[in-house]
């Protein structure tokens, strides 16, 4: 502890110094509090999403209190030991709470990779068991920074707090505004603290204030880091298309899915898929819902998926050809059980296939898929028990999820204990009652709540997210799957998949069955929008929007042995349905066709849209036709010109100068979303005000102003004699300012004579002098009115001699 030695000071001086140093010390500790708050608010944001807020609060308070107590009792070495033990205990706690935690400890290489990914902008939300992680992260920096802060080692306190905040700057969780606050506060801890250490007076710390203001201002005004300069180190990220494309939002973010506002659709070709059946070409899935987006928890730690146990499984073989260089994902139908490719493939925690290197145009891979066959054999035989790990991981919801989402869900579903039935009910509810629209701003607040109660419209991400949220309120495990819709059918079994086919849907976990896909997005408007984009692109003829036909596979045989779980019969039945699709679709909506066995119930469920199903009596609930059928011109796809305009008004105005300060955290940062310019404007105004204020003080403006005020607007005294005293005092000060100072021992009379020069005092001076003398030495009290008159007289005297 730095000992302030004060024996060179005495008495009042020492007390005055101590008052100043105490004040500076409190300012420094206040700054430390701000630093602490910046990184803690990220941790509390995390626990707000994944739970564990109470525990985090407890360990944080405990660590802070321990730091303060230790500062008075423990030497730095002891504190380091305490922090080390805390770190060790925290690590052990975390490891044992993570599935396969011990493996985690052994795999040093993967740990380093994970941390590198985190520090390159991968949100900490993606960490497995993030609630425990938050509770193990917080104590060490809180303890150490407050230990050193209370001890007066401000540089260390600031460095430790700053490092914790910097960690979240690097994970991208701390928005630019809060990051700036943290930096300024760290500088404040050091600047003010060390001034206190140096027994400085408050005024002497004004240079610190000035520098802080300059830092604040410069950080707002000067963007050294260009916006969108790079990407986090994450496997499986990066697809083509503009940064605002739907595809990029869904498939470009790696472990983090940020929901964009008004996404665009890119009509250029990505893949050609050869498959006997249409399907959703799944890329990956997300398990953790933040309320405003999705995160895939830490790579390499998949929950054991027991896989489909039902008999109702069919095997499908498909091939995919990449049509573009640099693609980092390998879409397949769910669930791939074998892959044949010329490059190494790994699997994401949620089952997505990840190529070791980006694909090149023309690369082909072959996938064998096993699909739970719910449509053909009816509702699967669903067990009752979820595996604990599945339930824990896929029923998470942010604490901030509004209650009315759950309330609405209970109205929609009939029996929460039947997840399959519940999923169908929610899916149908969304299909019927909500509109498809790409023209929606980025989320602000809980997406499901916004969709359900405010906007009533959205695109696939919104529909899927809403459905998952609703299911999770009933503790039904569900996750967000992303990938491509089947695309444009070609001759044979080929499907051309374009960027605009990017899609998101829902996977629901059914006990003893596995993950089953549901899609609450209305397909007709979805397809209409894509069709019009494609038509437009074809007219313009820009970009690569067509694919060559896939050459015949010949007698390709899958090189991998696979368990034969599906029956040949089921496979051919499905293939038969799909080959007859056009034919069958004509039968849609006609109850008679159903009766005449032109179409079976199962076939209708596959090929017909909900409206037709209802007409055929296959869906019980009478539907609201306007809500379900959306004429394609009703679907609003933002016009590019319009979009850029709205984007500008939405964004931080400072963006125009290129800072882009809040762009990155806009969609995922805890401090939120959307426009925050008032806060930043406030910062700029504050900084400018501080700089101007201190500059003015340095230039003596305030002293001057106070002086001017005192001379021009004298307050009246309590009684006539003090009013006259004041008036005389002003007169004296005024003379002193013009170079005629009253000397010590000079009588008032002699002073007036000297001041008035050879002509002698004028009438007013005589009056002033005589009244002053009377007031001081006379016996008679002077009337209030006289006194006021004298005050006015002096004001007149002073003003007369000033240039106007």
């Amino acid at each position: 502890m730095s000992v302030v030695r004060e024996y060179d000071l005495v008495g009042n001086q020492r007390r005055a110094v101590r008052e100043h140093t105490d004040a500076l010390r409190w300012v420094a500790l206040g700054c430390l509090f701000v630093v602490t708050a910046t990184y803690l608010h990220i941790l509390f944001w995390i626990t707000g999403i994944v739970g564990g807020t109470g525990r985090l609060l407890a360990v944080t308070l405990l660590a802070g209190a321990a730091g303060v107590v230790a500062a008075h009792t423990v030497a730095p070495r002891g504190a380091a030991v305490i922090a080390g033990v805390g770190l060790l205990v925290g690590t052990m706690w975390y490891v044992q709470s993570v599935p396969e935690g011990i493996d985690l400890l052994l795999g040093i290489g993967s740990i380093i990779l994970d941390w590198l990914a985190l520090l390159s902008g991968f949100t900490v939300l993606g960490i497995v068991a993030a609630d425990v992680w938050a509770a193990t992260f917080a104590p060490v920096p809180v303890f150490l920074s407050w230990y050193f802060g209370i001890r007066g080692e401000y540089a260390r306190a600031g460095a430790i707090g700053g490092a914790a905040a910097a960690f979240f700057m690097m994970t991208g969780d701390l928005g630019a505004g809060v990051a700036l606050l943290a930096v300024i506060a760290v500088a404040g801890v050091v600047g003010f603290g060390e001034m206190a250490q140096r027994q400085a007076r408050l005024v002497q710390a004004e240079l610190v204030v000035l520098l802080l203001a300059a830092m604040l201002l410069a950080s707002f005004m000067v963007p050294i880091i260009p916006a969108h300069g790079g990407k986090p180190i994450t496997p499986g990220s990066s697809v083509g298309g503009g940064s605002d494309s739907l595809e990029n939002s869904l498939l470009g973010g790696g472990e983090e899915l940020r929901v964009a506002g008004q996404p665009s659709l890119d009509p250029t070709v990505r893949y050609t898929v050869t498959s006997p059946v249409p399907g959703r070409w799944r890329v990956d899935a997300y398990d953790r819902y933040t309320g405003e987006g999705w995160v895939q928890t830490s790579p390499g730690q998949a929950v054991d998926d027991p896989g489909p146990e039902t008999e109702n499984v069919q095997r499908i073989q498909m091939t995919v050809r990449a049509e573009l260089d640099g693609l980092r994902s390998m879409p397949t139908m769910w669930e791939p059980v074998a892959v044949d490719s010329e490059w190494a493939v790994s699997r994401s925690p949620e089952g997505g296939l990840l190529p070791e290197d980006p694909l090149s145009a023309g690369d082909r891979y072959f996938v064998t898929v096993e699909q739970v066959d719910t449509l053909i054999t009816g509702a699967p035989d669903v067990g009752e028990e979820y595996p604990a790990a599945i339930r824990e991981r896929y029923t998470q919801l942010p604490d901030s999820t509004p209650e009315r989402v759950a309330e609405r869900t209970t109205e929609v579903i009939s029996d929460p204990s039947d997840p399959y039935q519940a999923a169908i009910e929610v899916e149908t509810y969304l299909l019927r009652n909500y509109n498809y629209s790409l023209d929606v701003p980025p989320p602000n607040g809980d997406m499901a709540d916004t969709m359900l109660f405010e906007r009533q419209a959205g695109y696939c991400t919104w529909f899927a997210t809403t459905m998952i949220t609703m299911l999770r309120t009933q503790d039904i495990p569900a996750r967000l799957a992303t990938g491509y819709s089947s695309g444009e059918p070609q001759a044979g079994e080929d499907w051309v998949v374009r960027g605009m086919n990017a899609h998101a849907w829902v996977e629901v976990y059914l006990p003893e069955v596995g993950w089953v896909a549901f899609d609450p997005t209305p397909s007709e408007p979805y397809n209409n929008v894509r069709r019009s984009v494609l038509d437009e692109a074809r007219e313009e003829g820009t970009g690569q929007i067509e694919a060559d036909p896939v050459e015949d596979l010949g007698d390709w045989e899958p090189s991998l042995e696979m368990p034969e779980r599906g029956t040949e019969e089921q496979l051919t039945q499905l293939q038969r349905i799909l080959r007859r699709e056009d034919e069958l679709q004509q039968a849609c909506g006609d109850p008679a066709a159903l009766e005449q066995d032109e179409i079976t119930r199962e076939e209708a469920l596959i090929v017909c849209d909900p409206v037709s199903l209802e007409a055929m009596g296959l869906i019980d609930e009478p539907g609201d036709l306007e809500n379900i059928t959306l004429p394609s011109d009703n679907v609003t796809l933002a016009d590019p010109a319009n979009r850029s305009q709205t984007a500008l008004t939405r964004d931080d105005p400072l963006n125009e100068t290129g800072s882009g300060a809040n762009d990155a955290d806009g969609s995922a940062g805890p401090l939120g979303t959307g426009p925050v310019p008032p806060l930043e404007d406030l910062g700029v105004i504050l900084a400018l005000g501080l700089i101007a204020g201190i500059g003015a003080r340095r230039a003596g403006v305030f002293r001057r102003a106070r002086y001017e005020m005192a001379i021009r607007w004298p307050g009246a005294g309590r009684d006539p004699s003090s009013t006259i005293e004041r008036a005389w005092g002003r007169f004296e000060r005024h003379c002193a300012e013009t170079g005629l100072e009253r000397e010590t021992g000079e009588s008032a009379r002699a002073f007036v004579t000297r001041v008035s020069g050879p002509e002698g005092p004028d009438e007013r001076l005589v009056r002033l002098l005589s009244t002053y003398e009377r007031s001081r030495f006379g016996d008679e009290p002077i009337s209030r009115a006289d006194a006021r008159e004298i005050a006015k007289l002096v004001t007149g005297l002073i003003n007369d001699e000033r240039p106007h």
Partner: protein, 346 residues
């Protein structure tokens, strides 16, 4: 003007943050980079403009070796910058704080710190090294201010309980009984405080009254002759000072002869200071004037063994340091306190 260690650290952090942010597009690191540049830039400019501080030093009070002493000076520079001050200390003089670095603002107020000189001598303090830094301690500029002062350090002295067992009469003087009371008179400068007659003083509040003992005669005067072989000067000075102080405290006037200097037999505070100062700086050796009978001879060998010879009695200095049987009642704490601060008012 140069970067401090912290300044270099900030440069590294800012550089790393810049590259990292550039590669991974982390805009929130902008605040780190810009703030660092601003702090370094403005700090550097400000330091560039700072003038050399002016200094005024005060000579510290003389004192005994091993005693804590206060060193004071004033530093002033425009804008009252924060600074780290290092006063250059000679070997054997240690600052009391764990390090010798004083962190202050240079606004002209008196800056003080404590030192403990381990050895006697006239130690030179200074020059002052002043490192002025910007408000965050990132950029520094150093000034060496040629302001030195002397720290006069007397030898350590020990209470010589054994001395009262020796009959000064053996050497021509005598140890006077303190209660051979003659009369009272007004206090004069140099009178020992222990001679103040408090009861009389209480009756005459405007004056201090001291007891006058029987007339000072030759019996109350003696001379100390201190000599040493090569390397024994410190031991000699310590022993001679202890003997001189013990005698003077007992009211005996003492003169001193060392190798190169002779001080007449006198009394009073100034005289006491002169003796101590001489013993602080002497380099030892054998005086040419070997004195007369009635001289107390202090002899130090090259190995530091000291012998004190009074008349015909010779004894090692160590034996004189033993506790005074007459003061057996005093507590151990009193004794150590006496030993620690030299035992006598200056």
């Amino acid at each position: 003007m140069n970067l401090t260690r912290r300044g270099r650290g900030v440069v590294w952090v800012a550089g790393f943050a810049f590259l990292w942010a550039l590669v991974f597009g982390l805009e929130s690191l902008n605040a780190v980079v810009v703030s660092a540049v601003v702090a370094l830039g403005i700090g550097g400019l400000w330091i560039h403009r700072v003038d050399a501080p002016t200094v005024e030093r005060f000579a510290p009070q003389p004192g005994h070796a091993g005693n804590q002493r206060l060193v004071r000076f004033q530093l002033r520079a425009d804008g009252s910058p924060r600074a780290t001050i290092v006063d250059q200390l000679p070997p054997g003089v240690e600052a009391v704080a764990e390090d010798n670095r004083l962190r202050r603002v240079l606004d002209g107020r008196t800056i003080g710190y404590s030192v403990i000189p381990e050895e006697r001598g006239i130690h030179q303090l200074g020059p002052l090294e002043v490192e002025i830094t910007d408000p965050f301690g990132l950029v520094a500029t150093r000034y060496e201010l040629d302001a030195t002062t002397e720290l006069v350090t007397y030898p350590r002295v020990y209470e010589l309980g054994g001395l009262s067992g020796i009959r000064i009469s053996d050497i021509g003087g005598s140890l006077r009984e303190r209660n051979e009371f003659d009369r009272v008179r007004e206090y004069e400068r140099g009178d020992p405080l222990r001679d103040i007659h408090w009861r009389s003083t209480a009756k005459h509040p405007e004056d201090l009254i001291v007891k006058e003992f029987i007339a000072r005669t030759d019996a109350n005067r003696t001379r100390i002759l201190a000599e040493c072989e090569q390397g024994g000067a410190d031991a000699m000075a310590m022993a001679a000072a202890s003997v001189a102080i013990t005698l003077m405290n007992d009211g005996i006037d003492v003169g001193l002869t060392v190798a190169d200097e002779t001080i007449a037999v006198e009394s009073g505070q100034n005289h006491r200071a002169r003796i101590l100062e001489t013993l602080a700086s002497t380099e030892g050796g054998y005086p040419t004037d070997q004195g007369t009978a009635g001289t107390i001879r202090v002899h130090a060998g090259g190995n530091g063994d000291v012998t004190v010879t009074i008349g015909t009695n010779s004894m090692p200095f160590e034996r004189l340091r033993r506790r005074d049987p007459a003061r057996a009642g005093t507590t151990r704490r009193d004794q150590s306190a006496v030993a620690a601060d030299g035992g006598w008012p200056q």
